[in-house]
């Protein structure tokens, strides 16, 4: 009871940090900022910790069991093994999904950076309509993947969709292909639609970064006789590397967890041509009821995320930006 009273009185009578050293023992400890700020940061931290890190841990434990079907998982130490992880190595559908995820991770990320950079440079060079065009390019990013999935299914419709009727109209009938139906085109078509949605995001980050570059850099390049492209290539783009890194991290992590767009368009099985780990995890766990195997794929995705984010956070920490 007295301890509670002490906390109470401490909270009521704030003190400056200098006073702490004069007092000793528990009283000083209770007066410390650490304890006094606890009511603010502890509840959100616990809630986040329980749902995020508690979840990760529990998921890992499930992945060690043989939990499948309607049988409840048996959390006994003697049942734990890495069978689900070794199973991945020999599972061709895991290989397909992992390959496509890596393609998405690399190709989609690079293309997004390129498109975002192009959009940012274009918008930055406009004399008017900057804000409206910025709004247009960022708009898809504000929409649900379910909504954009529905729109793109219509765009890609082989007979009456917008893309193919446009190609037919321009006399380019050879290009009027079955974009989502043909397995060799499918992943490319998925990436194209996702670039449409994420390009504006990359643009916004690049634009913010472009605006921190002083006008003198452009002037100096011009004085040195550099043209438009040389100025950007040699002077401006190198200064955007930190923006590129943050965009790449966000987009790569998205590639690992991408789900809703593919699920809307293809259901839970996009086929080996466009299956990715994010969709496979759902299919294995919630359609096929192979819970432990699904949990193992989920753990792999988490490890992948950490592998992408950890170097980035370390880099931020070293730059003193954490």
């Amino acid at each position: 009871m007295s301890a509670i009273n002490k906390i109470k009185s401490t909270l009521e009578n704030g003190s400056s940090p200098e006073e702490h050293s004069k007092e000793g023992g528990i009283r000083s400890y209770l007066r410390s900022d650490f304890i006094r700020s606890m009511p603010f940061w502890l509840p959100p931290t616990l809630l986040m910790g329980l749902f995020v890190y508690g979840g990760i841990l529990w998921n890992f434990v499930i992945s060690l069991t043989d939990f499948s079907g309607v049988v409840r998982p048996e959390y006994a130490l003697s049942n734990f093994d890495f069978e689900m992880y070794t199973r991945m190595l020999g599972d061709p559908s895991f290989h397909d999904a992992a390959r496509n995820t890596i393609i998405l991770l690399v190709v989609f990320t690079l293309l997004c950076l390129l498109v975002g950079l192009l959009l940012a440079i274009l918008v930055d060079n406009l004399l008017k309509w900057q804000s409206i065009l910025r709004t247009v390019f960022l708009l898809p990013f504000a929409l649900s993947f379910v909504v954009t999935g529905v729109f793109w299914q219509w765009m890609y419709n082989p007979e009456i969709g917008t893309i193919n009727t446009m190609f037919n109209l321009l006399g380019l009938d050879v290009l009027a292909l079955n974009w989502l139906g043909n397995p060799s085109l499918r992943l490319g078509a998925v990436m194209f639609a996702l670039i449409w949605q994420y390009g504006g995001y990359a643009m916004i980050i690049y634009l913010a970064s472009l605006r921190t570059i002083p006008q003198e850099h452009y002037e100096a390049a011009k004085v040195d006789g550099a043209g438009f492209f040389v100025t950007y290539w040699k002077v401006i783009i190198p200064q955007l590397s930190s923006a590129s890194v943050s965009i790449a991290v966000v987009i790569m992590v998205f590639s690992l967890k991408a789900f809703a767009w593919l699920y809307t368009v293809f259901g839970s099985n996009p086929g080996p041509a466009a299956d990715i780990l994010g969709v496979m995890m759902y299919r294995v766990a919630f359609s096929a009821n192979q819970w432990a195997y699904g949990a193992a794929i989920g753990s792999v995705l988490f490890v992948g995320t950490v592998m992408i984010v950890a170097p980035y956070l370390y880099y931020q920490y070293k730059r003193g930006e954490l």
Binding site: S37, F51, I56, W129, V147, W152
Partner: protein, 313 residues
Amino acid sequence: MKLTTTVKNAVGWNDTDLNERFEQVQRKHVIATILTVALAVFWVSPLWGGITTAFKTQSAFISTLPLTPPTVDQVTLNAWAVAWETLSPTLWNSLIFTIPAMVFSAVLGSFAAYGLSMVNWRGQVALMTAFILAIFLPKQGILLPLSRFWNTVDLEGILTSLGYFSLPFADPSHTNLIILIITHSAYGISIATLLFRGYYLTINHDIVEAARIDGAGIYAIYRHIILPLSYPMFMVVFIFQFTQIYNEFLYALILVGGSDPSAGAPVTLALAELNSGFSQNWNNQMAGAFITAIPTLIVYIAFGEQFAKGVEY
């Protein structure tokens, strides 16, 4: 144009070098404008094709090109009526859980960011790292525990024993809606914390110190200094969280399952269901996609600046 003439007048017409330079500058802007507008036309084409299709009659749908708008006698609101009837109950569900989850995650994020920025403590960076990593969390990594957790916690039983369902406004769908509120609040805390923390670090610490010396406690400082300063940031976090939570699909798919409005299904699930029906009717699907997008479109158009700020974290 105006700038060119002003400068030319100021410098004198005969400066050919300057004239050349201005022509170059203008050419650059003209090319940029043409390219950007062309790209912008492409960018809106999926939405434009959708909206024209949603307004067309069945015969116009077959006879006209996707991007051509319907003529007066080809316009029908039929598709909108059908889609609205299917989606509207779930649209309300979406708003019922999105708005509280948006508020809770923002408030908790503000608390966490304030508490953490007040502490001069070694573990702070580690804790902040945990928050930032949580932002990037792949949902698939916690999907199973999440569904097992809500299976174990018998929320319906708890609510019944508390007498919740005898309240006049209570509805069976509230069980799942409360589950969604708690889930989205918990997963939204991390990004809200990061956004608020970035903002709090820019606040001049002298104000806080001065208040402390005057004897203000940690609550008083939050209530009278930090909170009033946070209002613009609350708008940014609200806008960001609203679009995130409203657009979300996977948690709802796992926790609610089907698209039954009385089970608390959100509109994203109902749209996916409408889309996957066996008889594909593009007019209805397009109208449905727009109806689903309306709340986010309104928020995006009204608060575009705040949305862009939230994205820029």
